[in-house]
């Protein structure tokens, strides 16, 4: 306690130098929390949106289905297994049939994925209800990004060309009956949604599906020929991407932290040199050199405590703004390939704050200790005269 009190007084006694160090350190402190909070918020938002729009409580994939290999689409389109039929009837499971096709907006050919979905499904946020329309053209809905890419607007009619299960090319007119805005690129970019039954009829694949989306109310079970992908598995790529981004961003605050640490190291070094008499006096008064090392280490470490206080003063309003108002990066999520909302909100948890504090505290303590080690090697009699270094 005596060391703590004494070290704190000495630190404050350094005046402006202390406060400059503290301010730089507080920038690192707030920046780490802010950037990590935004990344955490992004990750949570991306996963939540993916659940709402694409995967619900998980998906059954036909064994040969590979979302990254279009050539598996034909072989993986099989009849929904009997064991899952009841769930499908109860709308606890939503089968989706996926096939390749091409459209010809403004005379240009563009490859697309046709995705059949039941118009009355409730599992996903896709506006499938709009597919419940009658007309000569096949009703389709698409995401805003896809609409922008294909220059299709509501009620536009365009030619669709596809092959049925026998490989025969067919063509028909489709009408855009809905455009939905989503942050999940996987259901937007390159996808055209149409009624499942219609797609099954068009491809001569009655009752077939490649994937089946599961509701939380349905108990997942092993089905032969199908593999269940849970939420963790399906959002793995999102989590990994955010982690990669997090590592990249950490460079940013690492530089700030480095600056702060350099300032503290420099101050500590200067302190040890300048305050030799003080060090010698402390030893003469009954402190061991090790206690004096601790004293100086504590003194340096207290920079971080002050930085937490200063950071809290100016950083709290900023962090609260990011948590409740968010920030818009003005980027299209589809270009990034990961779910990303127009406005991103920071998620700041006590764990993040406390974790950052502990991290900074440890780094500061190490940086403060390194110059203070010299004290242990000082001859106290020389130190008293200010001639130990």
């Amino acid at each position: 306690m005596k060391l703590v009190k004494s070290a704190f007084k000495s630190l404050l006694g350094n005046g402006l130098k202390t406060w400059l160090n503290v301010f730089v350190l507080s920038i690192s402190f707030v920046l780490i929390i802010l950037l990590q909070g935004i990344l955490k918020g992004w990750s949570e938002q991306a996963i939540a949106d993916t659940i709402k729009w694409e995967i619900a409580d998980g998906q059954y994939w036909q064994n040969t289905y590979d979302p990254f290999d279009p050539f598996t689409l034909d072989s993986s389109a099989v009849v929904v297994p009997t064991a899952l039929q009841k769930g499908v009837e109860q709308h606890l499971l939503e089968p989706q049939l996926i096939t390749q096709a091409s459209i010809y907006p403004e005379g240009r050919m563009q490859n697309v994925f046709l995705r059949g979905i039941r118009p009355d499904q409730q599992l996903l946020d896709i506006l499938s209800g709009k597919l419940n329309t009658s007309g000569t053209e096949i009703p389709v809905i698409l995401g805003a990004f896809m609409a922008k890419q294909t220059k299709l607007r509501l009620n536009d009619i365009v030619t669709l060309r596809w092959r049925d299960k026998n490989g025969t090319f067919e063509a028909a007119e489709i009408r855009v009956v809905g455009i939905f805005k989503t942050t999940v690129p996987a259901i937007d970019n390159g996808n055209i949604w149409l009624p499942l039954a219609k797609l099954q009829e068009m491809t001569l694949r009655p009752d077939c599906a490649n994937i089946i989306v599961k509701s939380p109310a349905f108990q997942a079970k092993d089905i032969e020929g199908w593999k269940f992908q849970d939420v963790a598995k399906l959002t793995e790529s999102t989590t990994k991407l955010v982690k990669t981004k997090s590592a990249g961003t950490s460079m940013f605050y690492f530089i700030f932290l480095l600056l702060a640490m350099l300032a503290i190291f420099d101050t500590q070094l200067l302190s040890v040199f300048r305050r030799q008499r003080e060090i010698g006096t402390m030893v003469a008064l009954g402190m061991t050199p090790r206690q004096v090392v601790w004293h100086f280490t504590l003194e340096g470490t207290f920079n971080s405590l002050l930085a937490f206080a200063v950071g809290a003063v100016w950083g709290t309003p900023l962090i609260l703004y990011m948590v409740y108002k968010g920030v818009s990066f003005n980027m299209d999520a589809n270009e990034l390939g990961i779910a990303m909302a127009d406005t991103m909100y920071a998620t700041v948890t006590p764990t993040l704050v406390v974790g950052t504090m502990i991290f900074i505290l440890i780094v500061t303590a190490i940086v403060s200790y390194l110059p203070a080690r010299k004290i242990a090697k000082m001859n106290p009699t020389d130190a008293i005269r200010g001639k130990a270094l």
Partner: protein
């Protein structure tokens, strides 16, 4: 200036009877490495200091007085020989034991005061008591009593930079005395002070010596200090050349002669 009521005040004593030899120096040799060789700062010193002495180590620069003071203060160790302070052989103490000895039994006063600059007068004087883990109430009581005794009650919240040289040295005395040490080691305590302040400081220390029987050992070549000493150990080139008590004189040939008492 020292409090004019100084002579009428009584220093708060820790009590207890004191007496006997508190420092014994036996064949002390201290060498410092210089280039490829060594410089002998102390060469076969033999001395004893009894409790309650007011002794000066007197000699020119380089005679070894500060080195001897540092070794007695367990801030340095002998190259050869032995120094026993309050029953503890300084050369055999580890860092923690040496610190313990300084913390509990020794007080230091330096030429440059060596006050902790960011602390107030109160905090400077309080510092040794903090190291003794004394309660806050007891610390406050002792610090205020000691500051009153050295006449600095009105400077409690001042910082060293706001004090004169004489006031700084009085703070240093208060810091050395606040824990009631058995022995105070003072290295050129008046070297940075003018004549008036020097005499006041010396009167203060002499009063402490008389009232508490606290032993003082000075390293000095200041004639003003010499006039107050009860014993003078004169050093030259690392050797004791004269050891004068207030009533007798022991020369380096071992003979004792009577001397007049200093006043």
């Amino acid at each position: 200036m020292i409090n004019k009521d100084l002579n009428n005040q009584s220093f708060p004593s820790s009590g207890g009877v004191r007496g006997g030899v508190i420092v014994e120096v036996k064949n002390l040799v201290k060498k410092f490495p210089v280039g490829a060789g060594f410089f002998t700062a102390l060469d076969g010193i033999n001395l004893q200091f009894a409790e309650g002495e007011f002794t000066g180590l007197v000699g020119p620069s380089g005679s070894g007085k500060t080195t001897l003071l540092n070794i007695i203060g367990s801030l340095d160790v002998p190259t050869d020989g032995e120094v026993v302070v309050l029953g503890k052989s300084v050369g055999k103490l580890n860092a923690r034991q040496a610190a313990q000895l300084r913390k509990e039994e020794l007080g230091f006063i330096f030429q440059s005061y060596n006050l902790l600059p960011v602390y107030t007068v109160f905090e400077n004087v309080e510092f040794p008591l903090l190291l003794l883990n004394m309660s806050a109430d007891e610390r406050k009581k002792r610090v205020l009593e000691t500051l009153e005794w050295v006449g600095l009650s009105d400077k409690v919240n001042s910082r060293p930079a706001q004090l004169s040289g004489g006031e700084c040295q009085r703070v240093a005395i208060a810091r050395a005395m606040v824990k009631r040490p058995l022995l105070v080691l003072a290295d050129e305590p008046t070297a940075n002070l003018d004549s008036v302040n020097s005499h006041n400081i010396l009167k203060t220390m002499l009063k402490l010596n008389n009232e508490l029987k606290t032993s003082f050992i000075f390293a000095t070549h200041d004639e003003k200090v010499i006039g107050y000493l009860k014993r003078i150990v004169r050093l030259q080139d690392g050797k004791v050349v004269e050891d004068v008590f207030a009533g007798r004189k022991t020369t380096d040939d071992g003979q004792q002669k009577m001397e007049s008492s200093k006043s």
